[in-house]
Structures are given as C-alpha cells and as structure tokens.
C-alpha cells in the first residue's frame, strides 16, 4: 500500500481510531449538552468579564488617571499586557503555518485550539491598545483615512502606525486561516445535525462545502499559500512590536536584538499558553487519544528551544550594554538587576531562563503535571519580561529629577483581569460550539501515524482491525 509508517516514529493517534471514531469523538462535545465543568468555567469567566468590563468602562469614563501612570512612567501594565497577549497569539500561527510548511504531523491535533487562542489573544491585545489610547471612540484616527482636519494623515514612519497595520493584518489573516480550516469540520457537523437550527447555522458557516476532489485540491493549495503568507507575518508582527521600543532613545529599549528576541519570546510564551489550554481540553473533552504525550513533548521541546534563545538574548543585552560603553545603557541593565525593580528582573530570569531548562529531562518533558506548572511559570515570567523592559527602562529618566516609581492601582489590575475574562469567555464558547481538534486533518494522518491501521489498508476483512506491527511487538 502507498502508506509507509516509519519504525522510529511513535504514534500520534492512539486507541486504534477509525475515521468514524474521529468524527464521533470530536463532534460529541459540540452536539451534546454543555458539561457541568464547562458551565462552571463559563460562569466564572463571564462574571470576571462583567467585572472587568465595568472597570474598563470606568477607565474610559474617568480617563487614564485611574491608572498608576505618571509623567516618567507613561507606559506600564497597559503595554506590558498588550505585548504579552500579542506574544501568546504567536504560537497558534506558528503551529498552523510554520509547522505545516515543515510537514510536522503532530500539529494536526493541536492547531485548531492554538489558532483559536491566537485570535482571542490578539483581541485581548487590541483591547489594551484601545485602553491605553484613552479615547477608544477616536481609534479610527490610527487609520489612514481622509479626514475633516485638513490634509492630515497618519505618520507612516512611526512604528506605532506599523503596529496598526501589522496587528490588524495579523488578526485578519489568522481569522481567515482559522475559519477556512474550520469549514470542512463545520460541514461534518452540519451533515450530522439533528435539529433544524443547528443544520441551518452550521450549514451557513460551512458555505456549502461538499468535499469534492476539486474543492479539496484547491483547498490544500490555498492552505499552503496561506501558511506561506502567515509565516513571515508571525515574524513581522512581533518584530514590529519590538520596534515600538527599539526605534526610541530610551536606554534598555534601543537595541537591535529586540526583533529576534521578541519573536522568540512570543513563541515561548505562546507555546506555554497552548500547553495550558490543551492539557485542560484533553482531559475535559477526553481527547487523550488525539492529544498525546508525543504532542506535549514536542511542544515542550519548542519551549526549551525558544526559552534558551530568550536566555541568550538576556545575556547578550547585558554584554552589549557593557561592550557599547554607553553609560546610560550600562546603568539601565545594572539597575534592572539590582535597582528597585530587582524582584521583577529576577522573577523574569527564574521563570524564563532557569525553570524551563528542567525540560531537558525527558521525564519532566513527558509529565502532564510538570508541563502544566512550568507552562504557567513561563507565562508569568514572560509577563515580567515585558514589565521589566517597559517599566524599569522608563522609571529612570536621563534626568534624575524625573526619576519615579510605578505602582499599579486597582484599575491597572482589574483591566488586566478583564482580559482574562474576555479570553476565557471566548475560548469556552469556541470549545463548546466548534470542534476543538481538526477532524479532517487528523483523518489524514490516521494511517501513517496511528498505532492501529484501518482494516482496508492491511487487506483483511472489512470491519476487522490489524495492529500496526511497528508499534506492537506482540503481533510479531
């Protein structure tokens, strides 16, 4: 037969699944009533969202004075949160685009949830951009639109305007990529739907998909081009975000290492968040046969790699600050490690550089508990990284007379909490109403990556299954 399974590869789909099993296992959480766990989680998320939204409303109503910002520290939690959420988004595109181009089959089980995470994380990031601007009702001023103020246009030389283009393009392309990936699965749900309403809704969103060979050929071609487009997009978005800082003259920001360092950090934190989400999903939706230890280990390897790159970047920053001979730059880094915000710096170093190195141990890399805990630690560390870059660089101006400290207020904290409510509300709605694993893609790898081959492949009678001898020595 045309499918060959490499002996060195461990199975990505366990439990001897057939194509029908894949459909059944993944569709059932969409078709069934919400589970108790889902209802509790959703209620908590909505309560947090309502509280957070009220605080965001008050921030806009009163003005940004309700935050702990001052004349020296003009950016703090707002931009920290923005960069953190944008970074989290990157893993989704990386999994769906870069790993598709690299023909990494393990991406198929986790790409849907990761892409959803990307979309919702970018929305959270955008909410902080709207918040920090203070007047969201004039947010359209960021766009190059003809206006009534005369021939006044946006400044295309500004990285902040580049950001507008980068984030909006990234969001749009990610949304389109995610939606196009959903269409075949939506058609599956449509064709299984029992109620008229769900048949109508899933029918409308599946755009009349019929799965013909011609459509599939075009679909694959389109997916490949979208992946090719998204790959540089991933790199460009965080590169441009880093330029918001790097093109300034603030010591600690004005460094050429920022673009690759930010991209690596984004993938690092994004994968950590994917780990947290898929570890919950696989248990709650009983998807252990699809999201296996192989998937978790593969993602942990990416976390180890990107975490190490981030560690090298921290050390490089320090070295260059000394090597450049610029006293302001040198002071900025000494101040980060030993100044008033030393605790944030060392929290960052511990969470991002030291603890992820535990993943070099295979036992830890394949442990669910360790993975979950270390992923949470990475996300905390990456938030501190952005906080350290932003606040510790700003709080010491060139003029000692303007030196100041930043202290978060209730609204700084509540507006951050809002983003969690927003994110988890959207993610829980996604996990209830859409298939969390890409059924069509998982079916494509059943033969080459499953521990049991469907009967028709092995040439035995219909209905029987034969264990793939590669993975089951007993058969041999």
């Amino acid at each position: 037969m045309s499918h060959v399974t490499a002996a060195v590869r461990t199975p990505l789909v366990t439990g001897g699944k057939t194509y029908a099993d894949v459909t059944e296992d993944i569709s059932k959480q969409v078709e069934g009533n919400p589970t108790r766990e889902w209802t509790i989680a959703f209620t908590i998320a909505v309560v947090v969202l309502i509280y957070g939204a009220a605080c965001v409303f008050w921030t806009w109503w009163e003005g940004l004075g309700v935050w702990g910002l001052n004349k020296t520290v003009g950016w703090a939690w707002d931009i920290t949160n923005f960069v953190w959420w944008v970074g989290i988004g990157h893993a989704g595109t990386l999994i769906s685009a870069i790993l598709l181009l690299f023909r990494q089959k393990w991406r198929t089980a986790v790409n849907r949830a990761a892409e959803a995470m990307t979309i919702f994380a970018v929305l959270c990031a955008a909410s902080f951009i709207m918040m920090h601007a203070g007047r969201p009702w004039v947010a359209y001023w960021c766009l190059p639109l003809p206006n009534t103020l005369g021939s006044l246009w946006v400044n295309f030389k500004s990285p902040l305007v580049w950001d507008v283009f980068a984030i909006s393009t990234y969001f749009t392309v990610s949304l389109v990529f995610w939606y196009m990936g959903l269409i075949p699965d939506l058609a599956t749900i449509r064709d299984r739907a029992k109620s008229k309403v769900s048949r109508y809704i899933y029918g409308a969103f599946s755009l009349g998909w019929n799965g013909s060979a011609k459509t599939w050929a075009r679909y694959e071609y389109m997916s490949l081009i979208l992946a090719g487009l998204s790959t540089p997009l991933v790199l460009s978005v965080h590169t441009i975000v880093s330029m918001d800082f790097a093109t300034s003259v603030i010591p600690g920001w004005h460094t050429t290492i920022f673009p690759p360092y930010f991209v690596a950090g984004a993938i690092f934190s994004g994968f950590a968040m994917v780990q947290n989400l898929v570890l919950i999903i696989r248990v709650v939706f009983k998807l252990e046969d699809y999201i296996t230890l192989e998937h978790i280990e593969s993602m942990n390897k990416v976390i180890t790699l990107t975490g190490s790159i981030v560690g090298v970047a921290y050390l490089t920053e320090f070295f260059i600050a000394w090597y450049s001979g610029v006293e302001f730059e040198g002071y900025a880094f000494i101040n980060r490690a030993t100044g008033p915000y030393w605790w944030a710096y060392w929290a960052m170093m511990t969470c991002n550089v030291i603890t992820p190195q535990l993943f070099w141990s295979r036992a830890i890399r394949r442990s669910i508990v360790w993975t979950f805990v270390l992923s949470v630690i990475v996300n905390i560390g990456m938030w501190f990284e952005r906080f350290v870059i932003i606040v510790t660089s700003l709080h010491r101006d060139y003029l000692p007379s303007s030196w100041a400290m930043f202290h978060p207020t209730l609204f700084d904290i509540s507006d951050y909490i809002f983003s969690f409510g927003f994110f988890f509300t959207l993610f829980l709605l996604f996990s209830k109403f859409l298939p969390v694993v890409n059924m069509a893609e998982v079916k494509t790898i059943i033969k080459s990556s499953s521990e049991i081959l469907p009967a028709s492949v092995s040439g035995v009678a219909k209905g029987e299954r034969v264990t793939n001898p590669t993975f089951n020595k007993d058969v041999e």
Binding site: S2, H3, Y19, A20, T23, P144, S151, W153, V154, N155, F156, K157, S158, P159, W162, F165, A166, S168, T169, T172, V173, V176, F177, M180, P184, A187, T188, R190, D191, R192, A204, F205, L207, G208, W209, N210, G211, S212, A213, K214, T215, W216, A217, R218, Y219, Y221, M222, I225, L226, L229, P232, L233, S236, M439, A440, E441, K443, S456, V457, K462
Partner: protein, 177 residues
C-alpha cells in the same frame, strides 16, 4: 452546485478507504467510464491528478492580489507622505520606500490572503446560502463517494455498477438530482 446541470441520474459508488478509492478512480477511468466527481472527508493526495482535474490557478490569483496590495501601499504612502502632507521626521526624507517596508509588506499579505480566499470561495461556488448537493452525507464523515453521471456515459448502468464493485466499492447507490 456548479458541476451538475438539470436533472440527472447518478450512480454513486461508496468506498471505505482512501487508497482504494484512489486506485478505483484509475481503474474506472481506464474502463472508459467518465467520473463526475469524487467526494471525501479529507484531502487525498493525487486524487485530482487521477481524475484529470487541471492544476489550480489559485497561486496566480494570490500573486496578482498580493501585487495589488503592494501597489496600493506604495500609492498610499507616496500620495500621503510624499505629496499631500510631506513630513520630515528625524531628518529622514519625506518619502523613502525603505521606511514604508512594514506597511507595504502588511498590505501585500492582507490583499493576497483576502483576495485568494475570496477567489477560492467564488471559484467553488460557495457561500452562506449555498445548499450543497451531497451524493452521500457520510462523505463528510468516513466514506468516499464516486459519482458517475449516467447521461454522460455510453456504458450501461449495470456495467458501470459492475466496474465500481470490481474496483472496490462497498455499495453502489442510485441518486437522482
């Protein structure tokens, strides 16, 4: 659906496996039977070639849409900053394409992606109100269907049924649209 016009009678061969259906396509075509289309729950590599479908030209559409994005960005930045409201920031020229690379790149990608996806949807005759013509609802689950339009074949119905069964069809159904 764009590939079916008027009322036709179809023989639909249902297959359980993607490798079998791929092999069957070659055998059925070699028997002189003209296949309307094959439907599957996931993409089967080489199926479009086996069916004799021409290579997709989506890549050309993507390139042209991307080019239109590049030109739009160049025109936008040139008009606004080079002509309508020149600004000199940090001693840089008011218009220098190098400064606008991020904007040009982003608009190229945006136009390319949206244009290509739009082309994909239009070329497949897809849309929210489109009711698909499904030969068998199981083709979005675990079955593979080969549809043969009897009005477009000179071979008799029972002969085609035999050919389908011989090439591995688990069942053969008649559908009238």
């Amino acid at each position: 659906m764009s590939d079916v016009h008027g009322s036709s009678k179809f023989l639909v061969g249902i297959f359980d496996d993607d490798d079998v259906v791929l092999k069957a396509v070659k055998e059925v075509r070699n028997s002189g039977v003209r296949i309307q289309e094959v439907y599957s729950p996931f993409p089967i590599h080489g199926l479009d070639i086996a069916l004799g479908h021409p290579r997709s030209r989506l890549g050309i559409a993507a390139f042209l849409f991307g080019l239109s994005g590049t030109l739009t960005a160049l025109a936008l930045t040139f008009y606004t900053e080079g002509f309508d409201w020149p600004m000199i920031v940090g001693g840089k020229d008011s218009y220098s394409p190098v400064i606008y690379v991020p904007v040009i790149f982003e608009l190229t990608v945006l136009f390319c992606a949206l244009g290509m996806v739009g082309t994909f949807i239009v070329s497949n005759g897809m849309g929210p109100t489109v009711k698909p013509l499904m030969y068998d609802l199981r083709t979005t689950d675990n079955k593979f269907a080969m549809a043969i339009d009897l009005s477009k074949n000179n071979i008799g119905e029972s002969d085609i049924e035999q050919i389908l069964k011989k090439s591995g069809a688990a069942e053969v159904n008649v559908k009238q649209f």
